[in-house]
């Protein structure tokens, strides 16, 4: 029997940074095939190639044994490939039927929502969904909206169904229902690809599993039966690699103390009763899968979001509830996760970005006037010192590459005396050499006596840099270890909620 979907030797780079390196994938009709990997392992990129959203730099795709040229989503749809993305593509104010007509007008052969309602209702009944075609999508629960997305894909004639992290926004009961439904679809002869990083789902619901790491396929289509969480976790996060040099540092006094901290979440999980202390010279690594409260924690530690409860002390000064200028006056410095959203001012020049934190602190002039000349001179010095390529002081910062933008950000934040440095995913999206530079800079800050907090989804990074390693899961710190006293697999299990 030929494979339902087969991808071979797929490579894809964004901005010169490889996201896929000769990755391969094959799944069969009638199976739920799990695609497992950490964030950024290339799972979604690979499947986006299959459904025509990305054109691979190299590689071939075959559907049902036939070579397929997929250059646009329409090609994929014609070949019966449908994907339910992590972020639903539904118009909230439209009804279910209207949304479906919007997406599948030609497939259904109808123009008006009224005519589609019948087709929608019968398809829903066929697959066992209880959905009212006239319900407004915005009034539906997330799980129901997901069913609308699945219906859309099925009505488009999909026989190969790709679901990207379908349970990440569902409750446990909803997850069980959704996963059982996927099993039923497979029993009906569909091929179902389940992109996930949850081991429980892989073991419980898939018949075979492909594991990706760093853009490569590290385990191709192994039978799930008989696999245990331990083996899977180790395959996913890799063997103990060569560790970056971690210097021995003399740790100073506690400079950052967090006690019983709770932060309300922005829609998702918040932070629940978190406590830890970081000493000068220490890098305190917080590992975890994205969306487990990291953003809320970083926001609270930098003064952007007032905590609901608890204490944050910098050098024994109570900071909880105070604003960013107060945190910065106490020497707090931050590298935010999204460098062009909360870090840099993309439409302003390099020198303005370099000087922007200094001005409120009293640098570059007086309260009335700013001295842009001094700002430019300081930026020119930083461009040399940090080797920021492609930049002059007057260059717009949006023209910098990711690595150089991050160097600019670090040059600004590491200027002067820093008591505490909060770095959130500081190497996300960077190439290898830029990663190294960022890591060296973080170590340098710690060497200078700064208390560093490194919040990262990159386990490698946390393990290689941190003096102390904690794991965040569902908004709580679920473990704290001294470096070298914990195995990668142990951390992996805690990250995935398999304590």
């Amino acid at each position: 029997m030929s494979h339902a979907l087969k991808i071979a030797g797929a490579s894809k780079a964004f901005d010169g940074r490889p996201a896929l390196r000769r990755a391969s994938f094959a799944c069969d009709w009638g199976e739920v095939h799990a695609l497992l990997g950490e964030n950024g392992a290339g799972k979604s990129t690979l499947m986006n190639v299959a459904c025509g959203l990305y054109a691979p730099d190299e590689g071939t795709i075959a559907v049902d044994g036939q070579p397929a040229a997929i250059t646009a989503p329409a090609d994929a749809a014609r070949l019966g490939i449908g994907m339910v993305h992590q972020h639903y593509k539904l118009v909230k104010r439209f009804t279910v039927a209207e949304n479906i007509v919007l997406a599948c007008r030609s497939a259904l052969g109808v123009r008006r929502p009224r005519d589609a309602a019948e087709a929608v209702a019968s398809k829903a009944a066929e697959v066992g969904f209880d959905i009212d075609p006239d319900a407004v999508v915005g009034d539906l629960s997330i799980a129901e909206q997901q069913r609308v997305e699945i219906l859309k894909v099925l009505l488009l004639g999909a026989r190969i169904l790709i679901l990207d992290e379908p349970t990440s926004v569902l409750t446990d009961q909803e997850s069980v229902a959704a996963l059982s439904f996927m099993r039923r679809l497979a029993e009906d002869g569909h091929a179902v690809v389940l992109i996930t990083h949850k081991l429980r789902e892989v073991i419980g619901y898939s018949s075979r599993v492909t594991v990706m790491r760093g853009g490569e396929t590290v385990l191709a289509g192994a039978e799930t039966a008989g696999m245990d969480a331990e083996t899977l976790a180790r395959t996913m996060v890799g063997e103990e690699g060569e560790m970056a040099e971690r210097h021995a540092r003399t740790l100073g006094e506690v400079r950052l103390r967090v006690e019983e901290l709770s932060v309300r979440g922005a829609g998702g999980i918040g932070v629940e009763d978190v406590g830890f202390a970081v000493r000068g010279g220490e890098i305190y690594g917080i590992a975890g899968v994205g969306g487990n409260g990291q953003q809320e924690l970083a926001d609270a530690l930098t003064g952007l979001r007032p905590p609901a409860r608890g204490r944050i002390a910098i050098d024994d000064d109570e900071m909880a509830g105070r604003d960013v200028p107060a945190f910065r006056r106490r020497g707090m410095r931050a590298v935010p996760a999204d460098r062009f959203r909360t870090g840099l001012l993309a439409e302003l020049a390099v020198y303005e970005n370099h000087g922007v934190t200094g001005v409120p602190a009293g640098e570059y002039g007086n309260p009335a006037l700013v001295r842009r000349g001094a700002m430019k001179a300081a930026a020119a010095g930083a461009i040399d010192a940090y080797n920021i390529q492609g930049a002059a002081p007057a260059t717009l910062s949006r023209l910098l590459s990711g690595g150089n933008a991050q160097k600019l950000l670090l040059a600004r934040e590491l200027r002067g005396e820093a008591s505490v440095l909060i770095a959130h995913s500081p190497t996300r999206g960077l190439d290898v050499s830029a990663c190294r530079t960022v890591h060296d800079l973080l170590q340098g800050a710690a060497d200078a006596g700064t208390a560093c907090v490194l919040i990262s989804e990159d386990l490698e990074e946390v393990l290689s840099l941190s003096t102390t390693i904690a794991v965040i899961s569902r908004g709580r710190l679920v473990g704290e270890f001294a470096a070298g006293e914990v195995s990668r697999a142990e951390i992996g299990r805690l990250m995935l909620g398999h304590a």
């Binding site: 001012l345 934190t357 001005v359 409120p360 842009r372």
Partner: protein, 356 residues
């Protein structure tokens, strides 16, 4: 099948390109507007006469342009000061009314010594305008109420207030119309320049422009405004006092609008009437947008729009064109400018998709 066309962002636009975009956008807009006028039956020769010869090449016409431009400079600067950091002041007219009320109050009740009466009228107008925008600014910064709605609606409140005063306590008994008493000559009126209807208000307007330029380019407040306008979240994370800066910028905006109202009353009408502030919100936003919220191009744009106002008046009277013709031309210039500006940031690329 049609070959796809992609929009590719351009690199940093050099100064000459930005200048060419500015001039080209306005010129193209005027050309399209002339096309509409020709469709209305005005001949090309007449357009050249009305728009160029009698407006910009004739001393009397030019004096009229200066007079028409004076309030436009103020409202353009007012809109720019707020829009710079994405605070949508849609209530410029309301603040003008308040400025007008404050100045008229000072004049009618002879507050302060005579030599200081005129400056006091303008100071009172600036404070009144700033207070009027203070309401939407406070509601936005404290309770996140949308300032577009509140500033717009407060315009109508201000106009009701003006009507109350002009039909009631401030009504000039010697007039059958709802006007206030005239301002005292030589004390409460802006001096003429001795050139058509132009008056010293233009110097105040240009002075305000210079002050705003200095604030934006050189002061810490201006630097904060730049940062907040570019990315408010990153500005907050960098420790910039977003609330205070926004409040200051809004107050500058309202204050400038208030002064615009006082200038119209003290420079042209010499009293408060029901028709002083009409239509200036729209013009202010058009001018601020075309000037990219920078004082120097805003002032230049204000003079171009002042020319359109002047020519539009003639067209209304002598060619029986509808009164909306001025607004129409302004709108066409704005739309053209926005399109031209877009293509100065992006270029079209036919053919193969360039992967990001």
């Amino acid at each position: 099948m049609l070959s796809p066309i992609y929009l590719v962002p351009r690199q940093q636009a050099p100064l000459w390109m930005r200048a060419a975009t500015f001039v080209g956008g306005i010129a193209l807009g005027l050309l399209i507007a002339f096309g509409i006028l020709i469709a209305y039956g005005v001949s090309a020769g007449q357009i050249v006469n009305e728009f160029i010869v009698y407006v910009f090449l004739d001393l009397n016409g030019l004096a009229q342009v200066v007079t028409a431009s004076t309030p436009l400079v103020f409202v353009g600067l007012a809109a720019a000061a707020a829009l710079k950091l994405k605070f949508w002041n849609i209530g410029v007219e309301g603040q003008m009314w308040l400025g007008c009320i404050a100045a008229t109050g000072v004049a009618l009740f002879d507050i302060g010594p005579e030599f200081f009466r005129l400056p006091l009228m303008f100071i009172a107008a600036a404070i009144a305008g700033a207070c009027w925008i203070g309401i939407p600014a406070f509601l936005k910064l404290r309770f996140r109420v949308n300032e577009i709605i509140t500033s717009l609606l407060l315009t109508y409140v201000a106009y009701q207030l003006v009507q109350h005063l002009l039909f009631g306590p401030w009504h000039d008994p010697g007039s059958a119309f709802p006007n206030s008493r005239h301002y005292d000559e030589g004390i409460e009126r802006l001096a003429r320049l001795g050139w058509g209807s132009s008056h010293t208000g233009i110097w105040i307007a240009l002075g305000a422009g210079a002050l705003l330029w200095f604030t934006m380019a050189r002061s810490r407040l201006g630097f904060y405004m730049d940062a907040i306008g570019a990315n408010v979240e990153a500005a907050r994370a960098a420790g910039i006092p977003v609330v205070l800066t926004t409040a200051f910028a809004a107050a500058m905006s309202g204050g400038l609008a208030g002064v615009a109202g006082a200038g119209l009353a003290a420079g042209q009408e010499y009293r408060m009437t029901l028709f002083i502030a009409g239509g200036y919100t729209f013009s202010g936003i058009v001018i601020a947008f075309i000037g990219r919220f920078r004082p120097v191009p805003v002032i230049i744009t204000a003079f171009v729009v002042g020319g359109v106002y002047t020519a539009g008046d003639t067209l209304k009277v002598f060619y029986q064109l509808p009164a909306a013709i001025t607004t129409l031309i302004e709108a066409v210039i704005l739309l053209t400018f926005v399109v031209v500006e877009f293509f100065s940031r992006y270029r079209l690329s036919w053919g193969v998709r360039e992967h990001a």
